[in-house]
Symmetry: C2
DNA sequence: AGTACATGAATGACTATTCATTCATGTAAT
DNA sequence: ATTACATGAATGAATAGTCATTCATGTACT
């Protein structure tokens, strides 16, 4: 029998259960069952239910964040940077099909712990977008009338909402590459300074 | 003393409390307190906690849906239609500053009841977007390479995410009109067929 | 024979919902 | 105009069920 790290086993069980049921409706016993451990075992590895959720963020989203930052640091062209951002996010969501739902569901749970966490760590992740847009504006290739703080929200909202498509039976025929291209070309054309200006 | 309908009073108290605390963390007694009624009174007007949440959707979102559909039926130009869609949504969210958060938070709560409701009624609302895009493609003014079902998600995701800006202290200086313009010009330029094509 | 890890039944805190009771208002008989 | 009675909306304390968390006990490895 392959012995898998219990911590990891619990994390991935919890991701699945949270995605299916939502944080509050998910029972510790559901997670324990899914991970094939006893309820009490979970408390050897985590302090409490919130801690499991936070760990999912720390570990899973932290990975995306870190990898994206490394890739971006080697790039200067804003549009290529956005391309990296989108594809990293969507590839990660595709790889772990429950993660997207956990982010969607849990990021919005109104809870002091999560709110704080979100404010600090997560907004750093979305601020990457507004920074890229500002860079493009400074280089004179992006529309100066775009408000980076509004655009970053629009952009991340689009990404977030789109990151669930593969779980919907009807729309499974779209690939990561297709979705990445769509979002990117939609947004890039929207943000570029050029001859096709609206208004 | 102005006597307000208790049903309405409870709905708006619940919207506020749900927005602040989230559905699961909100206590019936919080809602009762906010509405200045007794806990038990709530059960005269609603069957249970979920029923309150569903009623918020039915009543508040139903209103936006209905009004948007009427306005759209009098319009033929896809871009003007999108303009109507965005401004109706954002105006409603601005008017009731808690509603946006309730939608953001609660639409994602994984719960059979909500999920079903969302599938049926709510996706009809977002499908308006993909219908408009198809219309624009048929008229030859929108890019034929855009996938309407992906774009609708991107578009609604952007709207949804952006609809909370006025509640964030730092960014309160943006007006509804500004946000509407930003989203719209970003998206319209992104979707239009023209000389500024990406790729 | 000691250490570390794992178990799951028992505990206790929390809160949605219920329901016996109160109270404000309306009706009508005198 | 006053009294008696009826109604049902409103109340909030009590109930009852649900889990997160604990811990006494077990297991296995060194």
């Amino acid at each position: 029998m392959v012995v898998v790290n219990k911590h990891t086993k619990i994390i991935s069980a919890a991701t699945k259960v949270f995605a299916k049921k939502g944080f509050f409706t998910a029972r510790i016993s559901d997670i324990a069952k899914e991970a094939k451990v006893a309820d009490g075992t979970i408390y050897i590895y985590f302090n409490n239910k919130y801690d499991i959720l936070l760990s999912i963020f720390e570990e899973e989203i932290g990975k995306i964040f870190a990898k994206t930052e490394i890739l971006l640091s080697e790039e200067q062209d804003p549009s290529r940077m956005l391309q990296i951002y989108v594809s990293q996010y969507l590839q990660a969501m595709k790889k772990n099909k429950y993660l997207g739902e956990v982010i969607q569901i849990e990021l919005r749970q109104t809870n002091k712990v999560i709110r704080n966490y979100r404010k600090n760590k997560f907004s750093a992740y979305t601020n990457i977008i507004s920074d890229i847009i500002r860079k493009g504006q400074d280089q004179g290739i992006y529309r100066p009338d775009i408000l980076p703080d509004v655009a970053k929200r629009a952009f991340f909202g689009a990404l977030d909402e789109v990151s669930g498509v593969w779980n919907i039976s009807l729309e499974t025929h779209y690939s990561v590459e297709e979705i990445t291209d769509q979002i990117l070309s939609l947004f890039l054309q929207g943000v570029l300074l050029g001859t096709n200006q609206v208004k």
